[in-house]
């Protein structure tokens, strides 16, 4: 891991006083490699390293630390700074229902996460409604229905009608049935598919979601910036959910997505079961990326 790599690099340095530019450059070379191997985007790494260098050169080395440890400490703090605070709150509408829309690439975990969010809200005493707006993927509607059944949350469906009409009708249904949260599951799509991105824009226009959450697979590599940037530019995201963090991926995509959109990562998917949704903890993520 990074601290071990640093022990090697800094064995020769004496380590009293302030961090020299030379110390910092040496350390940051290792940090850069660690971040890239953790899948943080190339450009994001470049900007991040530059920022850390500014903070680190001339910085006091604390009595209890070696220069390498001091640099890691600055890097760690800067990572947490960049990733924001824990923010597992969903925007609340002035008057119900609060409308949440989940978007993202194919297979990221939207449908599963929709059910997890519904379960999360139900536990808080809310009355969620799941909306099956994926009319393309084989058995997508069935998938959401099976999940909804398991947690006793109703699933609104109109079969294979237009997702825009489904979303619109679901809001009326929610209002007449006193559901205060509407969670719209959409079909996975490529950010470069104009037609499908337009469909999302139309849904947004029709129902004005209070939350548009990008669901991102934690093992996503360099492409995370392209995806996050496009979805954000086209729709205006309000947050991100990172899934499949129960694996051994370092999850550098978290940093890339935050850096390029500025959106808070609100939740972490930590498994396939319905209760495997946790608030996102930036400090844990920072340690994981650097680990």
């Amino acid at each position: 891991n990074l601290s071990n790599k640093f022990q090697e690099v800094f064995k020769k340095l004496k380590g009293k006083g302030k961090l020299t530019e030379e110390d910092v450059n040496l350390a940051l070379r290792e940090v850069r490699i660690a971040l890239l191997e953790a899948d943080v985007n190339f450009q994001v790494v470049k900007d991040f390293i530059a920022k850390v260098k500014e903070k680190a050169v001339g910085h006091e080395v604390l009595e209890s630390l070696t220069p390498g440890q001091q640099v890691i400490k600055i890097v760690h703090e800067e990572l947490i700074n960049l990733m924001g605070k824990t923010n597992a709150k969903l925007n609340d509408a002035g008057s119900p229902p609060t409308i949440i829309m989940l978007v993202g690439l194919q297979g990221a975990g939207k449908t599963t996460t929709a059910a997890k969010l519904a379960h999360f809200l139900k536990k808080q005493g809310k009355k969620p409604l799941l909306v099956a707006a994926d009319i393309y993927r084989p058995a997508a509607i069935k998938q959401l229905q099976v999940l909804g059944d398991a947690i006793d949350v109703p699933v609104f469906t109109m079969g294979e009608q237009s997702p825009v009409d489904i979303a619109k009708a679901s809001i009326n249904f929610a209002k007449s049935n006193l559901k205060n949260y509407v969670i719209i599951d959409t079909a996975g799509r490529l950010h470069i598919n104009e037609e499908l991105m337009d469909e999302l824009k139309k849904i947004k226009e029709e129902v004005s979601p209070h939350e548009i959450l990008l669901v991102v697979d934690a093992m996503t590599g360099q492409d995370a910036v392209n995806v996050a940037k496009s979805f954000n530019e086209e729709l205006g995201l309000t947050g991100v959910i990172l899934t499949k963090l129960d694996g051994d991926t370092k999850g550098g995509a978290a940093l890339s997505v935050k850096a390029v959109t500025g959106c808070p990562i609100k939740f972490a998917g930590m498994g396939e079961k319905i209760e495997n949704l946790e608030p996102f903890y930036p400090d844990r993520m920072a340690s994981r990326i650097l680990g």
Partner: protein
């Protein structure tokens, strides 16, 4: 992409950037660039177009070794086990493979080995319907090995040419789930010696360096015979397969380029390398 026409230090840095941004990974990128520097010195390369060409050839050397085709076995059925982490495109790839074999006039049978995920069996059944082949299934929650057993028996009895077994997505670090896959493989082997003829790991082209860990664990557990790289119709380059190929020598047999049944292609190293630098 390489704006200047002459070769200098910046050219090598730019190349390293392209490789890393293509998910080739730090170490494999550095190794490729080192080889490139050496060749550039030896051949006195001064033109950046020529430099790019040499790099492409270096990568092709890695990707073109070995045989990237599906196994051809004398007996039927040919049995293909499809595995991989969650959401990478296994079930869709099986639908596409079924179509691919049907186009060749083969009799195909599918096994709904994902007995865990919501509507997984229904999803595969829809593919079976679309392509025109049967699906062997049991109740949700049943033992995947039992489904595989039934499927092999049925494939033999019905004189099927190709049997493709779907499995539930699972993270490679979940030991009990990896053990479940080993059991499926053992059951198939017992019923039909030599089978499964192919154990294909499906990798998502948007995946970063974690792909190496996936290959490591799945290979250790099952002895992979091939890789399928999906979602190459997006903007991700799938560069991880370069390092994976040179470290594991597992052939990349197919790529997925969309969600429709004909969006499957045999892996073409030339095409792949061109796309990496597009």
């Amino acid at each position: 992409v390489l704006k200047k026409s002459t070769v200098d230090e910046e050219s090598f840095e730019k190349i390293e950037e392209i490789l890393i941004e293509g998910d080739v990974g730090v170490k494999p990128s550095l190794e490729l660039v080192e080889k490139l520097r050496k060749t550039a010195r030896e051949q006195r390369i001064t033109d950046s177009e020529q430099l790019k060409q040499v790099l492409k050839e270096e990568i092709l050397k890695i990707l073109e070794t070995g045989d990237n085709k599906l196994k051809n076995v004398a007996r039927t059925p040919l049995v293909i086990l499809v595995v991989g982490v969650n959401g990478v495109g296994k079930t869709t790839t099986i639908g596409k493979l079924a179509y691919y074999f049907k186009q060749q006039g083969k009799q195909v049978l599918l096994a709904a080995g994902d007995t865990f995920r919501a509507a997984a069996i229904e999803q595969l059944e829809i593919w079976g319907n679309r392509v025109g082949c049967q699906v062997i299934k049991q109740k949700e929650g049943s033992d995947p090995a039992a489904v595989a057993f039934d499927a092999v028996k049925a494939a033999i009895a019905r004189k099927i040419d190709v049997l493709i077994i779907d499995t539930a997505g699972r993270l490679h670090t979940k030991t009990n789930l990896m053990e479940e896959l080993r059991k499926v493989k053992r059951v198939v082997e017992r019923e039909l010696p030599g089978a499964p003829d192919e154990v294909l790991l499906v990798l998502d082209a948007t995946t970063g360096q974690n792909a190496f860990s996936q290959v490591e664990y799945f290979n250790k557990a099952l002895d992979l015979t091939g890789l399928v790289l999906t979602k190459l119709d997006g903007t991700a380059k799938g560069g991880v397969i370069i390092g994976i190929k040179s470290s594991y020598q597992i052939p990349i047999k197919f790529i997925g380029v969309g969600e429709k049944m004909d969006d499957l292609r045999p892996f073409d190293p030339q095409e792949f390398v061109e796309a990496l630098f597009a």
